[in-house]
């Protein structure tokens, strides 16, 4: 269970988050809404442990993540605006390194299967810089297929994806929730997911000074 309480965040002289708090239960998805610049990405980066909040706390399984950084990061999967894909490495080489970094212990066959499932069959040995933007993004999304992380933090995951890939990604998220996983997500598109598991918060209404 992820608990966020009393979160404040300042960027420059702007107050982005103002005492924000929420709880994310297993099997649930929280859709973070808000206008551009409302602090969605900052919130996700704080939850991922990439950004320190001005005040407030993020707790995982009842314990502050600061006190259990490595354990927490072992259960976390974060996909940001940047794909985290190295252009000078081939798709499969990228996956091998992600596999190691995620501590996913997937074998080579699983990695090839992940590439196939994401629609990159035949592109295994192509340098990632030669792929199109959508394909590039898909290499990054393969992490979702490899990782055993409990908590997914996805920042605009549907960007640059075609209709088929959006459907696939939605089904992956659905399956993850089915397994009791948690998802924190921002997107400007409608979430193509069944309603019962999805809750929403909207940032920015009280965010201005």
């Amino acid at each position: 269970m992820l608990q966020v309480s009393g979160l404040f965040c300042e960027r420059g002289d702007r107050q982005l988050l103002n005492g924000l708090g929420f709880t994310l239960e297993p099997g649930k998805l929280l859709h973070v809404r808000g206008a551009n610049g409302a602090g969605k990405t900052s919130l996700l980066r704080i939850v991922a442990g990439l950004l320190l909040p001005t005040a407030g706390e993020v707790c995982w399984r009842g314990k502050p993540v600061k006190q259990q950084r490595e354990e927490y990061h072992g259960e976390l999967l974060y996909l940001g605006h940047l794909d985290g894909v190295k252009g000078d490495l081939s798709s499969i080489e990228n996956l091998r390194i992600d596999n190691e970094l995620l501590g996913a212990n997937a074998d080579e066959a699983t990695l090839v299967a992940a590439l196939e499932k994401i629609g990159l069959r035949g592109f295994e040995d192509i340098f990632a810089k030669q792929l199109s933007q959508g394909q590039h993004r898909r290499v990054g999304l393969c992490r979702l297929l490899m990782s055993q992380a409990k908590l997914w933090v996805l920042d605009e995951p549907f960007n640059a994806l075609d209709v088929k890939a959006v459907k696939l990604l939605a089904s992956l998220i659905e399956a993850h929730l089915e397994r009791g996983g948690m998802t924190l997500l921002t997107t400007h598109q409608d979430v193509p997911l069944s309603g019962a598991r999805v809750s929403e918060i909207t940032l920015g209404q009280t965010g201005r000074r």
Binding site: A48, G49, L50, L51, L52, E70, E71, H73, G74, L76, Y78, G80, H81, L82, D83, G84, V85, K86, G87, D88, L89, E93, R96, I97, D98, E100, L101, L102, G103
Partner: protein
């Protein structure tokens, strides 16, 4: 822990070898700087022999500064650094692997080419060997200290200049003891002290800098 070290090391070496130009630039820079001095100061054998160790050391030091900006810059730009920071493995181990790879690609070639440069300056066999030995201990220190500067200045405008300002003062002791060892050997003095100090600096850097680099990266990535 060792698996992640090996994975990152192999990754860095693969990437380095796919961008040979970057690696060769460092090496050429060092060779060119060291080769210009005899042309500029004239072909007096005695003068060149006394100046040689110092010049080669300065050339190696400046060359190792050149490649520092790329150490984390590329990974920062494409988001792979983020993934490293939030991986469940110790970040210090990951950055240590990156620095080791950086030294193998940028520092070790300088060490290997140095006997050739020593020959240019008319250093005899023993002095040449001592020069290689000091560079072998000294260049890893430069890589480790330089990485701290690179991590601190990551994502800043004009980061390259800032790195130089930050790390050059830290490089000075290494430069002094490194080149003094060769001078003293030529004068027939004992060089044990210089080597002990260089060794101590290397051990201290090996133990302390990975943690400093990891902390600096966490700050820079915000």
């Amino acid at each position: 822990m060792t698996v992640i070290f090996r994975t990152i090391l192999v990754r860095e070496l693969t990437l380095g070898l796919r961008r040979k130009a970057d690696m060769l630039m460092t090496l050429f820079f060092c060779v060119i700087v060291a080769s210009m001095f005899p042309l500029a100061v004239g072909p007096e054998t005695e003068l060149l022999r006394t100046m040689g160790p110092g010049i080669i050391w300065v050339a190696a030091l400046l060359a190792s500064l050149l490649s520092l900006e790329r150490l984390f810059g590329g990974d920062y730009a494409d988001g792979t650094l983020e993934q490293m920071v939030i991986s469940s493995h110790p970040l210090a181990m990951i950055v240590f692997a990156k620095v080791v790879a950086h030294w193998l690609l940028a520092g070790l070639p300088l060490v290997l080419i140095s006997p050739l440069l020593a020959l240019q300056y008319g250093l005899d066999g023993d002095e040449g060997l001592i020069l290689v030995a000091t560079l072998l201990i000294g260049t890893p220190i430069l890589s480790l200290l330089g990485a701290v500067g690179a991590a601190l200045t990551l994502g800043l405008r004009g980061g390259g200049v800032l790195i130089s300002l930050l790390v050059l003062p830290l490089f000075v002791p290494v430069l002094i003891f490194g080149s003094a060892a060769v001078d003293d050997a030529a004068a027939g003095l004992s060089i044990e002290g210089h080597f002990s100090l260089l060794g101590a600096m290397l051990i201290a850097a090996l133990i302390l800098t990975p943690w400093a680099i990891a902390s600096a990266l966490r700050i820079s990535i915000e």
